[in-house]
């Protein structure tokens, strides 16, 4: 696994993902995104449930 030489003509070594590795990484990233989104939604819903219907009433009214 090597990359093309850099501007000084030096060989660089690096990691090039295989299509399978890239695909599984994308799937993991998507799962993490969904989990974080779910977590945000859960805390939003729980906050509303804890505050109750009074959350919509302004104290000054």
């Amino acid at each position: 696994m090597s990359l093309p030489p850099d501007k000084n003509g030096q060989d660089k070594t690096g990691i090039v993902l295989t299509p399978e590795q890239k695909k599984s990484r994308d799937h993991r990233n998507l799962a993490i995104a969904l989990a974080v989104g779910f977590f945000v939604l859960l805390f939003y819903v729980v906050t509303i449930a804890k505050l109750g219907p009074g959350v919509l009433t302004h104290p000054a009214e």
Binding site: I15, R28, L42, V46, A49, K50
Partner: protein, 309 residues
């Protein structure tokens, strides 16, 4: 894992997908935990906020999943030996031990934190203790040290209804302790029935299960003794007044069936028939717990929906 440049060693790059991480959570154990925890929620006498109850159940499920991942992290060596566990994500090479450890610890912290925020810190502490008990006391210590491993370790599986009850009420009650006792006493005959059949596998993996250490005869006797305790323990919800007469009758009838099977296991000690009867008891034990909690969940749901008074 090394990413140092200049070395010729190939770095580890994961090909694990979300499904592999899901398998780390031991989904079947997790579903049993959710199921019994629902029972713990519904035996609460007063009104229940459904949103907070569902959020608490999700946190408890995540805690159970974290315990499963941490158990697989620690037990990867013996999981690779036993046929039943060989295809798990770590022994099959899809996830490394370090990845499982990081995943399990993160999930455990998130689960405890979430339960503390959405419910209360007594429930969160109980959940943290349950994870600690399953991973440290059971997996890392008792499992490989004593044939009483699943007797004491069974407490970890018995805690979820108590955690769920505490999440709704902020307290521990005798009724939630009764559900704890039911699962705690159910665990030894359930696992020993399986261990009687799979004793060679456990011996190969070096796990000191009762049949391999004390012999199948002693195991059969202990299964019978625990079943004698289980029959009255199963009826406790009725005797303590938080389940109906229907539940009382059902638990007595199922307990009697359990006892008949345990006596058959005690009497039939050789040949294929002995293994078959032990497997029958193992399968029935699952049905027993499933039906008792189904009855409890059903009648308590009707009470909360004001269908039954």
């Amino acid at each position: 894992m090394s990413f140092v440049t200049g070395t010729r060693a190939e770095p580890h790059i994961s090909i694990a997908g979300p499904r592999d991480y899901f398998d780390l959570l031991k989904p079947r154990v997790m579903s049993l935990v959710i199921y019994t925890a629902i029972g713990g929620v519904l035996i609460v006498p007063g009104p229940i906020n459904p949103v907070l109850a569902i959020a608490a159940l999700l946190a408890i499920a995540a805690g159970a999943g974290a315990s499963g991942a941490l158990n697989m992290w620690y037990d990867a060596d013996i999981d690779a030996i036993m046929r039943r566990t060989r295809k798990r994500p770590i022994p099959s090479g899809r996830i490394t031990r370090q990845e499982a450890l990081a995943f399990g610890l993160t999930l455990a912290a998130l689960a405890v934190f979430t339960l503390g925020i959405v419910a209360n810190w007594l429930a969160a502490s109980l959940l943290a203790f349950t994870i600690f008990f399953y991973v440290i006391i059971y997996s890392m210590w008792l499992k490989r040290a004593t044939p009483q491993n699943i007797v004491i370790g069974g407490a970890a599986g018995a805690f979820p209804p108590m955690v769920a009850y505490a999440a709704i009420t902020g307290t521990i009650s005798l009724s939630s302790l009764a559900l704890f006792a039911l699962i705690f006493i159910w665990t030894p005959p359930h696992f020993w029935a399986l261990a009687l059949v799979k004793s060679e596998e456990y011996a190969k993996a070096g796990i000191p299960m009762l049949p391999t250490v004390a012999g199948p005869d002693r195991t059969r006797r202990d299964i019978l003794l625990y079943t004698l305790l289980l029959v009255p323990a199963g009826t406790l919800p009725y005797l303590m007044g938080f389940a109906s007469a229907f539940y009382g009758l059902l638990s007595a009838a199922l307990g009697l069936c359990f006892l008949v099977l345990a006596v058959r296991v005690y009497r039939n000690r050789t040949g294929d028939i002995a293994n078959k009867i032990a497997m029958d008891l193992f399968k029935f034990s699952i049905l027993y717990l499933f039906l008792l909690f189904a009855a409890l969940i059903l009648e308590k749901s009707l009470v909360h929906l004001n269908v039954l008074v």
